[in-house]
């Protein structure tokens, strides 16, 4: 198993600003993903964080809005850019191997005013 830590746990931000969420895994993982969970909803994949290369984004998500970095096998960041109230969500980092389950961080609750 892997233990995943996210920072910040929660934040309140002003419209038009950007916030970077950090994800740290306690062991090397092959795969890392970023999910969004809007209030009362299920989890939607934003992108796959690829080590040393550009992330792979799902339909409806773009790099300019959600730039992602993954410099090594244990760390990734997600930036939510030019935020609007519609970006208020929980953002979850997950990681794991090529097969089997994924492990999740505790999520970062973002509120945009």
């Amino acid at each position: 198993s892997a233990v995943i830590s996210q920072k910040p746990s929660r934040d309140i931000c002003q419209r038009g600003t950007s916030l970077t969420i950090q994800c740290q895994v306690d062991s090397q993982v092959t795969m890392m993903f970023w999910y969004r969970q809007q209030p009362g909803q299920s989890l939607t994949l934003i992108a796959t964080a690829n080590q040393g290369s550009e992330a792979t984004y799902e339909s409806g998500f773009v790099i300019d809005k959600f730039p992602i970095s993954r410099p090594n096998l244990t760390f990734s960041t997600l930036t939510v850019s030019n935020m609007s109230p519609e970006d208020s969500s929980i953002y979850l980092c997950s990681g794991g191997g090529g097969t089997g389950e994924l492990f999740f961080g505790e999520g970062s609750r973002l509120t945009v005013l």
Binding site: T48, L92, T99, G100, E101, L102, F103, E106, G107
Partner: protein, 116 residues
Amino acid sequence: AQTVTQSQPEMSVQEAETVTLSCTYDTSESDYYLFWYKQPPSRQMILVIRQEAYKQQNATENRFSVNFQKAAKSFSLKISDSQLGDAAMYFCAYRSAGTGAQKLVFGQGTRLTINP
């Protein structure tokens, strides 16, 4: 693309009773994984149980067991002897066993309430 459907937005059960949460999925693949995750108010996604599609035997983890019907593409979760700490959102999830970065696809979730 694979889809996962949970048709029960909410369920409730008396403490110590048994409850079953339903999940169906759609895929053309033959090799995959299925999971149930629990999300309490703390937001942490906690793995409850996993099932490999190639295994005919249903997975069990203590009070949690699944009924995996591959032909019917059904994957229900049974919780026996329900406890107050079982109250949470439960998500059914699918993951392909193919090569490459295989993401989890989630159902809509079922909110489980435990009545004391």
